[in-house]
């Protein structure tokens, strides 16, 4: 079976500095994997290079067995960026979530029933149905993070990639988010997330990959732990 994400020997330079020194990472179908490491260890760079958002100088990235530059089935991937800006004037939650449907909708096609149903479902999954018509600027940090996850889910992806979804959230919001991701995992979604600490995500994880200074130093089960 095709792996949703596979990275081998990946080297990435930012400016003159090599940030990743030949990293291997495979995320199998149905797996929930955390990318861990201190600030500057390269975990976010790894995720962004895997999506083709930044180029790599050596190695290979494959999304569903296709390099990002030749990849076209973007609806199979749901990306939740870190500190998403969402600074669109007056945009509401549902307008933002609808924009997560564009990989499926294509150009010059109005929303059909399937699009509307997927948006409604995504809002339900993150428990934001009541806030659908709220403006994004009125939301708390936890609500905004849930809205960004709903945007990623609206495309009905097979692989969900999250960049530090817990950052800046209080414990209650973190636990709510972990509960949502646990449901998605149970529904068969493949999840790969960059984390600064395991926190309430711990019970979800099948595997943790720890990076240190641009190298993978551990891959396997983690019992928990701290990041000072």
């Amino acid at each position: 079976m095709v792996n949703p994400l596979s990275v081998s020997g990946l080297k990435v330079t930012l400016g003159a500095t090599e940030v990743l020194h030949g990293v291997d990472l495979t995320v199998s179908r149905g797996e929930t994997v955390a990318l861990l490491g201190a600030n500057g260890s390269g975990k976010t760079t790894l995720l962004r290079a895997a999506l083709g958002l930044i180029p790599h100088v050596a190695g290979e990235v494959k999304l569903f067995d296709t390099p990002p530059t030749r990849f076209h089935e973007w609806s199979r991937i749901g990306y939740v960026p870190q500190h998403s800006q969402l600074q669109v004037l007056k945009a509401t939650v549902i307008e933002m979530v609808r924009s997560g449907r564009l990989a499926r909708r294509g150009v010059l096609r109005l929303q059909n029933l399937a699009d509307k149903a997927a948006v409604t479902k995504a809002l339900q999954v993150v428990r934001m149905s009541d806030l659908a018509n709220r403006e994004l600027t009125e939301l708390s940090g936890g609500q905004r993070q849930r809205a960004v996850i709903a945007r990623a889910l609206a495309g009905e992806p097979e692989l969900l990639l999250l960049d530090e979804p817990l950052a800046g959230l209080d414990m209650r919001s973190q636990e709510a988010l972990a509960a949502i991701l646990a449901e998605l995992k149970a529904a068969g979604l493949t999840i790969c997330m960059v984390l600064h600490e395991l926190g309430p995500m711990k019970p979800l994880l099948d595997r943790s990959v720890v990076l240190r200074e641009g190298n993978v130093i551990y891959s396997g089960q983690l019992a928990g732990g701290t990041y000072a």
Binding site: L51, E95, S99, L198
Partner: protein
């Protein structure tokens, strides 16, 4: 005060009104995205480049309006192409381009012996001298521009919201960015004859700002802005006839008045329907496991031993055995 309906019987006045309404529709449609991308001042600068096109037309004897549109769009596409390759012309570079364009336009107008008087109708707008062919060009640009902004609204929205996310949706982000800048250039140059290049940014920005005072949601704001744009363009034109004032300035002053009115109105609405207080955000909770400091277990036994558990500790992984943390360090194990 001349009777408005009598004045409307004149063909030049009908052309003026049509041209004003077309500008009033196009400017906020494009302005919605110009505001998102914080390009309001770029729009202003592109107007200066359009003046170079007018100067070129005066010297060569071509029709000024289409030449100005072409020069302005070329300038905008060049700037965006440079930005796309990461060689962004800095603040100084843009200033040189814009003021160079304006100076070149004035210089060429002088060479053509037309002086600055010929330019002033482009700087400040001159609705009553709009010709039939001007209206035709404006109509084509306006219909194209408004159609593109409405048909591609979902894609343009996504790019404005989050460029990187848009890329993971397979959207052609660079082409869409280019489109926004090209549309801004078309709007600026197309509105030369109606409000003038010095005031056109106001027609792009002010109706959008006014609409955002009272509307909720992106789409509602866009539609409200279009309505405000058309209304201030039409009533501003009629008002300028009634009051015998310059049309461009009258339209923009009216738009600013609408903005002030909607700001007061929006404040009152928000005061009545105050959203419930946000959930309080507690400081992030970081669980901390105190490190043990006992070295009774020989670390060598850890290697490959069942019963050890990997634990994240700082920037490395510890292996937990009998309640003690062991960290690999060179050829031996440290107790943590």
């Amino acid at each position: 005060m001349p009777d408005i309906l009598d004045v409307l019987a004149y063909p030049f006045m009908q052309r003026a009104l049509i041209a004003a309404v077309l500008s009033g529709l196009l400017a906020p449609a494009v302005g919605m995205y110009v505001v998102q991308r914080r390009l309001s001042l770029l729009g202003d600068g592109l107007g200066h480049v359009a003046i170079a096109g007018v100067g070129l037309a005066l010297v060569t004897g071509w029709t000024p309006f289409p030449v100005a549109v072409a020069v302005c769009v070329l300038g905008a596409v060049a700037i965006e192409a440079l930005r796309g390759t990461g060689k962004a012309p800095g603040d100084t570079g843009l200033a040189i381009l814009f003021y160079g364009g304006l100076a070149l336009g004035i210089l060429l107008a002088g060479v053509a012996n037309r002086g600055t008087a010929a330019l002033s109708q482009y700087l400040f707008g001159s609705l009553t001298t709009v010709s039939g062919s001007d209206v035709l060009v404006l109509a084509v640009l306006c219909v194209t521009g408004v159609a593109l902004t409405l048909l591609l609204a979902p894609q343009l929205f996504s790019v404005c919201a989050d460029e990187e996310y848009a890329r993971t949706q397979g959207l052609p982000v660079r082409a869409l960015n280019m489109l926004i800048v090209a549309l801004a250039a078309i709007t600026v140059s197309a509105s030369m004859r109606t409000v003038g290049v010095l005031l056109v940014s106001a027609l792009m920005v002010v109706p959008v700002a006014a609409a955002s005072n009272i509307a909720t949601g992106f789409r509602a704001t866009l539609l409200t802005a279009l309505g405000i744009g058309v209304a201030v363009a039409a009533f501003g034109t009629l008002g300028s006839v009634a009051l015998d004032t310059p049309s461009g300035a009258t339209i923009v002053v009216l738009a600013v008045a609408v903005f002030v009115l909607t700001a007061a109105l929006g404040g009152a609405i928000r005061h009545r329907h105050r959203p419930p207080a946000e959930e309080p955000e507690l400081p992030t909770f970081t669980p901390h496991i105190p490190a043990e400091a006992d070295a009774t277990h020989p670390p060598e036994t850890l290697e490959g031993m069942p019963g050890t558990t990997a634990v994240l500790h700082g920037d490395h992984v510890d292996y937990l055995l009998h309640g003690h943390r062991h960290a690999p360090h060179g050829d031996h194990w440290d107790e943590h």
